[in-house]
Symmetry: C3
């Protein structure tokens, strides 16, 4: 299939400067906001039940991340998700740690029941847990973009009616019918906290400015992975790597992305 | 008017190493603490109602920031504000997002009613919301230090009886009678999260060590803006920019600041 | 006494890649997670009462830090501590700010009463407060590894039946009978927030992979201090220093550590 130009999608996102409403975890609030700002989007972090509906109304996309989940936040996530659904803006869910504790798995299943998710992004184990397949996750090679991961992503996408992004050495992006494989990225990304969460937020930015969640998600992942590749060249370790990655998110031009993206 | 030496104020702040008690948002807790440490102040972050009064008693300044506001924190802000007022230490308020949601606007109005604020720092829209002028914010050019922003800052300062700092391309610092314009700063500061919040905290440090909130605030803004200018010269993008800015906060000497500040 | 090779302990930790469960403060969640990842351990941050027992069961060590304490977190700390004790994994406690407010001092005393702590790490004032000696802390030189700090550490270790680590210019590591002094470190570490908290987390990682908390703690402190020394050489200020320190945590090899550690 012909992939629309990821560079054009990056240019479109920057021109729109979408306001991305994040209800995310304490660990990554700062790094996620900085990734969105560096990319050219506009982040807001807000979690109070008193205002999440207002924020969802102002926003172009909603990103929900359960990384440091606690009960009071679940109500806010549901209020925000329903408001975003009414406004028909994209909702991206990052089921951090689903499958690791029953509290997280239960919560993700409940969130998926309460509002429609546009894109679900996680590693293989997390994504499978969202579809009640946690017992089968042990055997899935989440790092290799294997046929098994690909089939799992497609199955979950069809089951939930959303785009599914399973990240690993190769990222699988699928709506259950069409599947794209994104080969960008660098192993150093696993040595920095919150790199997956930032990927999810960037998917939110691209989807918030775009109209095709499948291609928007693939473009976001290629862009982010390319930033990681370029950052790795000029960094000595995980500290300088993340700082360089933020730089690269700002420095990569649409034509850089078209030249460097590896989507099949 | 003659501006007291900002360099002398920086030297005074470093000599005092004021303990700045921050009740601030999750996104910027780390970056704010690092900005205060780099500058030579001593930060503490504490928000439990059980201890905020104790912290306010130990501190030389209180900084309240509503960036990731939720209801339980409001009580702590009020307790801390009243304790700081009793001790007569400076209180600096950053009304992040006031005007964006009614929850924030309502909360800021309530805080301003519960305890006296020494300095109010925000962008034009936020500051005007604190004075119930949210409907007029759309027309205010917050980026240019325009006459309109200046008049608004002076009006709010007189109305609330505090120093008002409206940040933008030019920062307006006023007590309603005297007005200073600070021309330091760099546009890259808008590409990093929490730069406004760090400015607020540095105002707290300078006020905590000083005795003249108008000039203390202007000196803090000039110092911070100069750090941004110097950081921009040696950075490739928003990642390296923030790291360089922290370095510069430590590296700028009082004589550097006197030479580089542009306050009128 | 003969100190086991710190380099061998680092190699052992990296081979084990221990999952370190942190219940820590908002300010340092990101920097702590990054320090653990850079070192080669695997961090998880989770604080909901609904899941902390599950997390403790998955983890190789539990690290509790009271930096931004509030009442709802205390219950989670106790649940996690008891679960970790049942599983017999090491528990490391960082009593941030104990002695500064009665809320913190009371809480630390309660935590120490509810579950057994393997290692207690703080500065002299904080550690003494854990043993009800807060009134005597004023006279203790926390920066010099003085005889007074050493005796205090040994007294607290005997009283609480744990390893005590008092950090300062020289770190004191003792179980009350055997005492090690770690001379690694750099004064720049005091200009960055969360450096003490990251030290505590690294102690958790070494203890989680090891079997001798006294020597594990000393090796962790030497490793961390050496990273600080190496980072200081290639940094211009506190911003670049912390980023370089994360790099060095990844770059230091076991033989580097054996060559550079200064434990007596």
């Amino acid at each position: 299939m012909i992939i629309p130009s990821p560079g054009a999608m990056l240019a479109n996102m920057r021109a729109a400067c979408p306001l991305v409403h994040n209800i995310t975890n304490y660990v990554v609030m700062n790094s996620t906001a900085n990734a969105l700002l560096a990319a050219g989007a506009s982040p807001v972090m807000a979690h109070a039940p008193e205002e999440v509906e207002d924020m969802a109304r102002l926003a172009s996309a909603l990103v929900i991340n359960i990384g440091t989940l606690s009960a009071p936040w679940i109500d806010a996530m549901i209020l925000a998700g329903k408001a975003a659904a009414r406004k028909k803006i994209p909702i991206v869910l990052d089921p951090v740690g689903a499958g690791a504790t029953s509290f997280r798995t239960r919560t993700v299943v409940r969130l998926l029941d309460e509002f429609p998710v546009t894109v679900l992004r996680g590693n293989a184990s997390e994504v499978l847990s969202c579809a009640g397949e946690s017992k089968t996750t042990r055997g899935v090679d989440s790092t290799a973009g294997s046929m098994e991961a690909r089939e799992a992503a497609e199955r979950v996408a069809r089951g939930l009616g959303c785009v599914t992004v399973i990240t690993g050495k190769v990222d699988v992006v699928t709506d259950g019918k069409r599947t794209l494989l994104v080969h960008n990225g660098h192993e150093m990304m696993r040595r920095v906290t919150g790199t997956g969460c930032a990927a999810t937020a960037l998917v939110g930015a691209f989807c918030g400015a775009g109209s095709d969640p499948l291609n928007d998600s693939a473009a976001a992942m290629a862009y982010y992975g390319l930033a990681g590749e370029r950052a790795a060249v000029r960094s000595a370790g995980p500290g300088t790597f993340w700082i360089a990655l933020l730089d690269e998110l700002a420095l990569i031009s649409p034509s850089d992305l078209d030249a460097g993206s590896r989507i099949e």
